[in-house]
Structures are given as structure tokens and as C-alpha cells.
Symmetry: C2
Subunit: 577 residues, 2 copies
Amino acid sequence: MRQQRMLIPTLRDVPGDAEAASHRLMLRAGLVRQLSSGIYSYLPLGLKALQHIQTIVREELDAAGAQEMLMPALHPSELWKASGRWDIYGPELMRLEDRHGREFALGATHEEVITTIVKDEIQSYKKLPVTLYQIQTKYRDERRPRFGLLRGREFLMKDAYSFDRTATGLDESYQSMYNAYERIFTRCGLNFRAVEADSGAIGGTDTHEFMALADIGEDTIVHCPSCQYAANLEKAVGLLPPSPSSASKQPKLDGRPKKVHTPKVTSIKQLSEFLPISPKQIIKSIAIEANGAPVIVLLRGDCEVNEIKLKNVLGASEFIMLSETDIQKLGSIAGFIGPIGLQNVKIIADSSVMGLQDAVVGANEADYHLVHVDVERDLADLAYHDLRNVTEGECCMSCGHQLSFAKGIEVGHVFKLGTKYSQSLGALFSDENGASEPIIMGCYGIGVSRVLAAILEQNYDERGIIWPASIAPFAVHLLTVHVQDEVQMKLSDEIYKSLSRAGLTVLWDDREERPGVKFNDADLLGFPLRITVGKKAGENIVECKERRSGQQYELTVQQILTHCQTFFQTGGRSSHE
Amino acid sequence: MRQQRMLIPTLRDVPGDAEAASHRLMLRAGLVRQLSSGIYSYLPLGLKALQHIQTIVREELDAAGAQEMLMPALHPSELWKASGRWDIYGPELMRLEDRHGREFALGATHEEVITTIVKDEIQSYKKLPVTLYQIQTKYRDERRPRFGLLRGREFLMKDAYSFDRTATGLDESYQSMYNAYERIFTRCGLNFRAVEADSGAIGGTDTHEFMALADIGEDTIVHCPSCQYAANLEKAVGLLPPSPSSASKQPKLDGRPKKVHTPKVTSIKQLSEFLPISPKQIIKSIAIEANGAPVIVLLRGDCEVNEIKLKNVLGASEFIMLSETDIQKLGSIAGFIGPIGLQNVKIIADSSVMGLQDAVVGANEADYHLVHVDVERDLADLAYHDLRNVTEGECCMSCGHQLSFAKGIEVGHVFKLGTKYSQSLGALFSDENGASEPIIMGCYGIGVSRVLAAILEQNYDERGIIWPASIAPFAVHLLTVHVQDEVQMKLSDEIYKSLSRAGLTVLWDDREERPGVKFNDADLLGFPLRITVGKKAGENIVECKERRSGQQYELTVQQILTHCQTFFQTGGRSSHE
């Protein structure tokens, strides 16, 4: 392609409102333009990169035996009402009426549609298992679209759905998609981790998220540098190092908690400073209401409650904090709640509380706490669960190594759905004996446009993008320094044709611009190899620059083709000595 | 691909409500399924065919120098208001509000969006010309969606837009797209004609429609079998053969019209029978109001008025029929209007009236007509225009040959937009002298999903689809008669691998079904070649059947690959003796 007339509107300045690196790079390199909040047009270079991702996705899913299809974005409301999601999806689901007043949703996901199709078309076990996928535009009306393509309202997604007869079959379908995802993200050049995730209170068992590591990521990943363990913060578990032995400065009494006056001291921080004592010696008591009953939740003072784990343990889809009045009804008082002496209320504890000695708890009395609490002695019958977010310093449950934390962008998600949709929408199959069973489903998503953003988050420097060879809009940027120079143009034309004939994609910068502008644009656009035809054109010598390594060297015209081919055959890594 | 687990739900029965052949075939062969009126899912086979069309479109547009991009379907209402189309597009434009109450349209077309992008990114003549295209989902809330993919509400379209500095530049961009369209539809295997179309009263000059010939088509095409002339009925012009000389049975008078009593005779048909006289001797007078003034339109009695031509001649976007009261105000009476003696009213005539002798007109008096009218003598100052639909029997204006009529499906459209959108949306460029000018635009559409339907309308027989090789979901249907027979399965497996390795796409029917079912399905699915592995498998002999020609012959295993390759290299036409 010749650059002169291509729509590649590079920008010198970083747009002020673009927070994420990928967003800034996409705007500066002319890959996308915003049409409305969270809604983007892909300009030619951006679309090429997006198509390369799609090709990788297709190749790997096809190889895994999945079948591509294409479903509409307009979904009749009846389907979403049948699954129950019309009401619970909330304002993120965009809705409209047609000219006859019939309600439609703009598909945010396609479980309802695919399950309806499979229900109509597959009745026998003989047709199972099957995995179907599509690459299609999705709509979610995010309250706060941001970070460019990372959180948009109209975006490109690959969604796949597996249909099995048995749980074992689902396991196999799931693993097959999991493996395909690893190959896809590897081929996309992403630094990623597959992490365990929470499957939610309703339906589903296993679920993994594929996280591209990046500081801009909105998800926290906990992983072990020594073994394979990785999970998102919602799901991650760890082992707390043992608490330091008693650090209380209060005098010890003879095996009984002692009530101490702690006027207006209601927070862990205040208490820790007042006594003084490490927060690790304080037992936090959180009073909530779940499933209509009060519950006291105990955690070590330096730990945070993990709401998802708590909901799962309680078997509750929601919980609320107890009001001051309700706390009083329990015989306690807000700010001074403690587990000792409270009756008629369920108490559950995070494992961080286990075995604490010489600890501090609220005294259920205004301005008083109990110190010298020994959990084994004074709280003998506690039910322990994992209720906290893993904290820095905890150790891997598998290998004992200290866990690491990282930020990640969720680029993919594999999920065992079970029979939630097949039951609500009536997708049944008859087995070998003629008995009717709901089909067992899995669903598998990849945020195709988000992958593009994640790739950029991981591949740039201060000069611009550094494309992985597999995704780069063009393999080679051919740059003619002076387009008025006939020798340079003639040589450039030869190189352009030779590389193109060999199947390499070449963008030829034939613009009448100052060389500095062209070099800067080339670095910003960031294709793997730049070939510059300049003043040595008469000697048939050009300059080659590798964008990633920054290596720069001369090549004779005779060397160019072989050099480029070797470079890309080895995955776009430097092969130059 | 092995057919056992592929989602190809063939149907034995024709669904009752499917009127169009393509719609019936798509449902029966499991290519698509309806989700809602005018909204379809593409199942795996349908999507493959659709993707083949997309590939052809991309290759030809890229070769023509157009650049692919991708725009969103959600359009902020402001853009459509700026172009003025928010109000005039009517209920076909689907609209919705986001969670903040902001209005959006679901893109029915993308002039507003592309013009805005170009306005923001292209300011200088140096960046022009440029042609941009996308293949993207469009939404139009048709009042009466029908014929399956022929008239849907959510459909796949290729839309392209050219941007030029000069009218000559536009001519070149237009011709380049026109030529690409001819290549595209030819490669898709369509029998089509490019026809002149009307560009409408507002904006635009040239426009052509690409029509796939098919009886189900909703458009009438007029074309000359002898020269290149072709136009749609709205636009077509022709030469009427001269009227027969006076056929009136009324006695002739001495060079003056004669008033005759024609009680309650108000239609051409009644008049023709009453007098009796050929309708070709009657001059029809139609009283309308356009631009706020009455107009009498004259046509020969056997001709129909062409509303588009009439509007264009009058420079009016609409016209209405005159009421009886308004006709009386002109000094006439409904049913007996005629051009002679009417004053203070504009009279225009279709060229069919020119030179008529011994003709009949209304007398502007209840129950009376005038006969023996000589147009040259009695209506000397008539303004003549082309105001009629061309009728069977008219001749080509270019070569004189009698014109033919056909029905067509509009699969493509090229249109010179001019500056309508660049002016309303402010897309200006500065020329060499720094002067600011609106960019001159063209737009070019292909109904990608409609092309799929049109291909089927032209390629089937009573047994099912007959795919053109370029579009067929698979090239070869490999059919194993008895899958329990190890010899047959082993040979099938070898053939499957050998053809696949050579890059041929093969669907292997490995289902445990009765042979009759499999043969019927193969004919219904209609891939170009069927290779049947049956009872001669032990002798390494298979049967090959060409779907289009119906030819059937045996091949040895050694011959298969070469035979298939030769068959497809010659475009899927029979090469077998």
C-alpha cells in the first residue's frame, strides 16, 4: 500500500482525555476515532490489526473443532424474558422498540439466542457434543465507558457456546477451549495468565479468566511465581504467615479477657494506636444481614472481607450492613461489636482469626473493648471459612512460596454454565434410552477489540507502538526519504514489488513530507521492520531498522528479501548479528 | 469437516410461509434460521457462503484501491439531525436511547458517520482522492420484511464512499467502483445487468443499479437485447412504434374536433369500448397539484405515468391528485378532463401524445368527449417530456431494437452524491490555492446478504441448491455410503486427507444415516462435486457426481485429486468426457 493516500491520520499531540496508553497510541497512530462515548470507528490500520486477531481466533477455534456461525444483534425481548435476564440485566442492556412497538434488546451476549437455536435444531444425543462460536458486535451500555477500546459500549467479541450430554463432556469441551485460548493469546503476543475466577452463586462451576498483565488493568491477579497457581482477587486463596506473638502492652491477666475503656475508639486504626497494638492482634467484627438474618463476620484487623466469598459461604446473592438499631437489637452497639457474649446470632470467622492469642475484640458495650482474648479458649465453636481478600505477604496454598500481585485486563473468559439456560429455555436432548435431559452448556468469550488494546498496553515505548509481528497491520514500512529523487523512488518501487510478491505486507511511505516527520511516524506506527531508501540508493544500499530491538543496519538490495523472510519466519525477533 | 457433528439441520419439508425460492432453500439446507421477522442467524454453512462473498468483495475493492475500515452501528442522533435525515428517514430508521437518555440511530447507512470522519481527518487536496469501505451490519425497520434475506431488517452490507476534489475525479472513482462491481458479481456467479437508475430530485447525478435477474425480483428492468442499454423502469426510456392510423369509427368532420355524447364513460377502457376506438387513439388527461399549482398531464391512453419522471420534470418532491372541487375550479369535471379549452393551467404532455391524429380527449363537460382531435392542429403549443413508463413493444433509443423486460433483485448500487453531505456536515478541503471547497462524494453499496439470496434464486433445481464454485460452502461433498464398513471408512479417510491437504474444502458425510437420506441431503446442499465411497471401495473406485451438469462417473482413487483440481481450476464447469 502506498501511504500518500491512505487514511492514516497520525497525531503529534496526545489527546488530553485519553488516560490509557493503548487509547493514546490508537488515537495518535490513527488506528481508531471516537464517534461517541465508548463507540469507535476503526480506521484502515486499526481494522487490519483487528482482522489479524480475528484470523488467529478463527484458526485456533476451527482447529479445536468449533463451528463458526453468526447471530443477530437484535434480540426479541421474549427470549430475555424467558431466561429471566430482561429484568435483572439492568441498564447495561440496551433496548429499543421496532415500528410495531415490539421490544428488542441489542445483544450484550448470546446465551438466549444460541440456546434457542440449539433447542430447535438438536434433539438427539447423536448430534452432541457441539461447540458453536461467532465473532460479532456486542452492545453494553457501560455507565462509565473508558480507556478507549478497553471498556466500550459497542465492541467486537468472540463468543462460543458448548453443548454436551454429560458433565465429563463439558469438562472436555471446556479444556479444549481453554487450550485454544492459550494458543490464541500466545500467538497474539500477549503476556497473560489464566486465572481461577469465581463462578457466582447461581449456576456454573469452573471458570477461568485470561488476564493480560498490564498496570491499567482493572482486575487484581494473585499468582505464585514458583508454581502454576493463579487466581483473580475475588477467588484467590492464600496462607497467612502466623501472627507475631502477643504485642499487647496491656498487662496480662490470669486467663480471662479484660474489659478496657476505649472512649470513642471505633476503628481498627484508632484502636491500634490507642492501646497500642498491631492490627493483626485485633479481631474485626462486621455485622451484616443476609437471607433475612443477622450474621457477625470476624476477620483479623489487617484483612479485608471478600464479598464474593462471603456471599458464596452464606449462599446469598446479596447482603447489607446491619443498621445501628438492628445492632442494638442484638445486644451490642455499633463500633464496639464483638463475638463474646453475643447470643442468638450466627457468627462466622475468616481463617485469619484462627488460633489468635492475646487478641482484642469489641465488648458489645459503648467505649469498651476486651483484650487478652484467646480465640481457642474464648471462642471455641467458631465456624471458619475463607472470607478475606488475599493480602501481600500471604503464601501459596500449593507450594508455600510467597504470592505475587499484578494488575490484569480480562481478555478472555471460559465458564461452565451447566443447565441454567438449557433449562429455562427448554433445550433438551433425548439420550440413548429416549429419556429427556437438559443439555449441559459452557460459554467462552474473547474481547476481540479489547485484545487489540491489551496488545498495545504491553507493546510500546516513548516513540510509539511496537507491534507483535503476528498482529502488525503491515510487516514492513518502506520509507523513501526524498520522493523527488528518481533513484530513490525507482529502488523503492523495486523493493515494494519484490516484498509484496513474496507475500509480505508493505506500507510504502511515498509522502512528500520532511524526513523527520516520516521517521517519527514510522516509529509511532511501529511495524516490525523499517526499510529506509535514502542517500545510498545509488549504491543499492538501504537501511533496515528493527522496531522492537532498535537495531539498525545496512542491507544491500540483494539481501532485503531473504532478510525480511528470515526475520518473520523466526517470529519477528532479531536475527541480525 | 466431518458432518456427523456439524450443525447442518436439513429439512425435508418446505416451510409454508417461505415464498421465495432462496428463502426455502436456505431454510431447507440449514443455512439460516429466523430469529424474528426479517432477522436471521447464519448457521455454519450459510456463514461460509457469506464469507466467500465477503472475500470476493474485499479482494476486488482492495484491488481498486479502496481502503477498508469499520464504523459503528450506533450513531448519535446529532449527526443525522445535522444532515437533516433524522426527521425525513421515517420509521425505517431504528432509534433508541442510552442510559443517559441520549438518542441514537441504528445505522441504516453511513454517509453521516464517514463524512464526519473525513471532515475531521482530511483537510488538504493532497489527501484526495480516497475511497473508503466497510462490510458491516445495517438496520432498516422494513414495514414488511420478506423473502428471507432479500428484504431483512438486520443485514450485511458493503458500503463504500469516495471523496474527490473535482467532478472529473468523481467520475473516475465512480467508474472504478462500477468496474469492481462487475468483477465482483461475475465472480459470484450471478447473471446480472448494470442498469441506469434515477438519482432522485435532490443531489446526485449518475446512478446505476446492479440487478441480479430473477423472477422474484421487485424491480423491473428494461434492457435491449441488441445493444448495451439497460435501465430500471423508473429511468428507462423507449421509442413508441407509431400509432396505427385513425381507427375511429366516428364520421370525420371538416378539420375540427367534434363533441360526442359519452354518458357516464369516464375510464379509458369504457371509452375505448363505447366509441369504439383503440386506447392508443385516446389522450389521457391527469390532473395533479405540484408545488402548489395545478398541472394537467397528457399521456396516450395505453401508457402509464412514471411518477419519478414526472416529479423530476416538475422539480417537485411530491405531487397529489387534484380533487373534484379543484378540477371544477379549472372549469372542467372529473372523468371528462381534456386539454382543449382549459385556461390558466399548465399542461405538459408525454411524448406518446406527439403527432396523434384523430384522437379523443375529454370535453371538460359532463358526459362528453371530443373526437377527431389532431394534436398538431388543436394542441400546437404543448410542452413534451418523457413522462411514461416504457411499455412492452417500445424500441431502444440507441439502436432501435425492441426492448425486453425482466425482473431483477438490486444487489448493488453506485451513486454520485455530489456535495449534499459534505456541505451539510462541513467536510471541506483546501485546494492548491488555499481556497476551501466541499469534497465531492460518491457512495456505493452491495447488499452482501442479499447477494447470497440472489445467487440461490439463480442456482437451484427441484432437488436443491446448485452452488457456484466460488461461493459453495464446501467444494467437495465426500459421502461414505455405509460408515460401518471399514473398507469404505478407510478409503474415505484417505480421500478426505488428500483433498484437504491440497487445499480443497471437503464436507465428509460420515453420518449413520440411510444412503437415501445422505444422497438427498447432498443434492439439497448442492456442493459442486460429490464423491461417493460405496461398494466398489475395495477396488479403490469411487463415484463422482457433478451437481450442476448432473454428470456421474467413476474414478479411481489415483484420479480423484487431479480430477477435482482440474474441475475447480476451470471454474467448476464439467471437464469430464
